[in-house]
């Protein structure tokens, strides 16, 4: 669950309000301090008074810094240390003169409150995520003077859920930019009629230049100077013509996926309700999805349901220690690589190290600043995502590898049993793939495989999972999806794939795929493995039925599964 995303502007405004309130209270606080200091008499009886002064100065140092009054904070710290030294030494040395100087400097503190010394508080980290549900249409603007090429490309891009607005001149796109922005901008480099190179003249089209969406250049010319200019313009790609649409779309999708990565999921395990609530809010503001665990015994259920990417674990809890809970988590095969980070007051280094040997990956000391917490969690989740990808994903397609998708299917079907919702398992296979490899080579074959993978990734939802099952075989598990809807989805993919035109060294070719699917509603009580076998049999039937088609497994027609 996510709360509404907050804009940096809004949060900055709120913080400015809090800062104003603090500023309003400060003069009274400083006055109180001065009054206290006047009560110093240079005798041992001063000690409790000095302690109070020290405490107040300490507070000023801390909160002043938090609210951006760095000068005030720095000065308060200087005075704080001085008082600390007096307290720990003998009061004899604190003579009249020293006390007078102290009073003077204390009085000067209020000078740091004047308008001109108020620095700009950096905006807190607030993430805005572009909501993208897979299957949602994305808008591309293509500025290409070759109208036929433009229309051909638009047609191809449509298969990948990209809706293209076509412009033949930069000026037209510039004008349109007054009224909106695309999700992605593709510019041709050479415009023959005007005799212009877009990488050279983009400065004259400010609306296009300042667009925040990703920018791609396409060109028949592999010109180094143009490439350099493209880089300077912040373009994420420079693609050569003749265009290889699957390759282009692959690049485009990678860029967009990176921008729209799903929020990081964090589970907080801490028995202090106030603290857990505060940390949760801090992480929520940073765009993460956060849940808190109150009952430690249910930690495994919670992890199975919420699937956190990181667990923030307090070490000292009344019933079960953080270290013991971490130990239980590590008993599960599929939770070996779940990042567990202790967040604890524990300052003893040896005890920290000992705790880490019990299954945690890292140790953060409380108290921890909000910014530091966000940075630490973010870094660890990103690293875990990278490693998970490296380990479990096929490098060509970005989909799960064979073993991982099989495991995922088993787990997802189990989950569906718990929720009582239907789940469908699908197997897809490219038709006559061997022929593609033999005729056009393995590079072309790779592109065809990438195209299927792309279509899959684009069509399925966040809750669905897809993998590369074999060389030209794919498998997917679709949550909360009955046979009808699964069939619709696969049909859509089948048709889009059949419409693609691949280009290899000037030769154009196309491909088709066959697929089989099995739904838990027709196979109640079946495991993920059994559904996978059933969908494979349906795929076989599709191949034998003439290929380029989808077949739904039905319990009646299948042989008995042992």
């Amino acid at each position: 669950m996510t709360d509404d995303n907050l804009s940096s502007d809004k949060v900055a405004l709120l913080l400015a309000g809090l800062r104003k309130e603090y500023l309003a209270r400060l003069p009274a606080e400083l006055e109180a301090l001065e009054k206290l200091a006047h009560g110093l008499g240079g005798v041992d009886a001063d000690r409790p008074l000095l302690d109070e002064i020290h405490q107040r100065l300490h507070k000023l140092t801390g909160t002043g810094g938090t609210f951006g009054f760095s000068d005030l904070s720095a000065q308060a710290r200087v005075l704080e240390y001085r008082v600390k030294a007096w307290v720990s030494g003998s009061m004899q040395g604190v003579d009249d003169q020293l006390r007078q100087v102290f009073l003077l400097e204390l009085g000067k503190l209020k000078e740091h409150l004047s308008e001109k010394s108020i620095p700009i508080v950096p905006a807190p980290v607030v993430h805005t995520r572009v909501e993208q549900t897979p299957g949602k249409v994305l808008n591309i603007w293509l500025v290409e003077d070759d109208n036929e090429l433009g229309r051909w490309l638009s047609c191809q891009l449509a298969s990948f859920n990209y809706v293209t607005s076509l412009f033949t001149r930069l000026a037209d796109a510039e004008a349109a930019a007054h009224n909106g922005q695309p999700d992605l901008l593709i510019l041709d480099v050479l415009f023959d009629e005007e005799g212009e190179n877009s990488t050279q003249i983009l400065d004259f089209y400010p609306n296009l230049k300042k667009m925040s969406c990703p920018l791609f250049f396409i060109s028949a010319m592999d010109d180094f100077q143009s490439r350099i200019r493209a880089v300077k313009l912040g373009a994420v790609g420079y693609i050569l013509k003749p265009l290889d649409v699957p390759r282009l779309v692959g690049r485009m999708t990678k860029v967009i996926e990176r921008r729209n990565a799903p929020p990081q999921r964090v589970l907080i395990v801490d028995d202090d309700i106030d603290l857990a609530a505060h940390y949760r809010l801090v992480l929520l503001a940073a765009g993460m999805e956060v849940e808190i665990l109150h009952q430690s015994e249910h930690i495994i259920e919670k992890i199975s349901a919420f699937r956190p990417e990181l667990v923030l674990m307090d070490m000292h809890m009344p019933d079960y220690s953080g270290a013991d809970l971490a130990g239980v988590i590590r008993q599960y095969d599929n939770l070996q690589s779940l990042p567990i980070v202790y967040l604890s007051v524990e300052t003893d280094l040896d005890r920290q190290i000992e705790a880490m040997s019990r299954g945690a990956d890292d140790f953060l000391s409380k108290p921890i600043s909000d910014r530091r917490l966000v940075a630490a969690v973010n870094a660890r989740v990103e690293r875990a995502r990278y490693h998970e990808g490296q380990e479990n994903r096929d490098s060509l397609t970005g989909l799960l590898k064979h073993a991982s998708i099989k495991e995922a299917i088993v787990l997802e079907v189990l989950r569906a049993r718990r929720t009582g919702k239907p789940v469908s398992v699908a197997m897809l296979d490219i038709d006559h793939f061997k022929k593609v490899n033999d005729t056009y080579g393995h590079a072309a074959g790779d592109l065809v495989i990438s195209a299927v993978a792309l279509l899959l990734r684009q069509r399925i939802r966040q809750s669905d999972i897809a993998g590369r099952y074999g060389g030209e075989e794919f498998a997917a598990v679709l949550q909360d999806c009955d046979a009808q809807n699964a069939h619709l989805l696969l049909e859509n993919i089948r048709q889009s794939f059949a419409n693609l035109r691949f280009n290899h060294e000037g030769k154009e070719f196309s491909c088709t795929l066959s697929a089989g699917l099995a739904c838990s509603l027709q196979y109640p009580g079946s495991s993920g493995t059994e559904l996978l076998i059933a969908s494979d049999e349906a795929l076989y039937a599709a191949k034998h039925g003439g290929r380029n088609q989808i077949k739904i497994a039905s319990a009646n027609s299948r042989a008995e599964i042992k």
Binding site: S7, D9, V11, L13, D51, L275, A277, H278, V345, I368
Partner: protein
């Protein structure tokens, strides 16, 4: 990014949580004072140290940790001293917020 416009919900939530913490200080102090076992005392101090730090009460957090250390090292004299400081700080916070 959405255009600017005051969204009180967010700051209000933070403020509410902080207020809840301050109001709960009396209970925390009682937990510390009347802890039946050392384990309970440590747990209460640990919670206080952690939470206090998050809400900006650095000295309170530090004091709670000092009490934990003194208790761990069985230093009666120091324990009494820091415990007194802790109580004093709690009192100050509760009265000034």
């Amino acid at each position: 990014m959405a255009p600017g416009g005051l969204d009180p919900a967010f700051a209000e939530q933070f403020a509410q949580i902080r207020q809840t913490f301050i109001l709960g200080l009396a209970k925390r102090e009682s937990e510390i004072e009347h802890a039946p076992t050392r384990a309970d005392l440590n747990a209460a101090l640990h919670r206080l140290a952690g939470a206090a730090g998050a809400f900006g009460f650095e000295d309170l957090s530090q004091l709670a940790r000092s009490v934990m250390e003194a208790s761990h090292h069985d230093d009666e004299v120091h324990l009494l001293k820091v415990m007194a400081e802790l109580k004093q700080t709690l009192k100050t916070i509760r009265s000034t917020g």
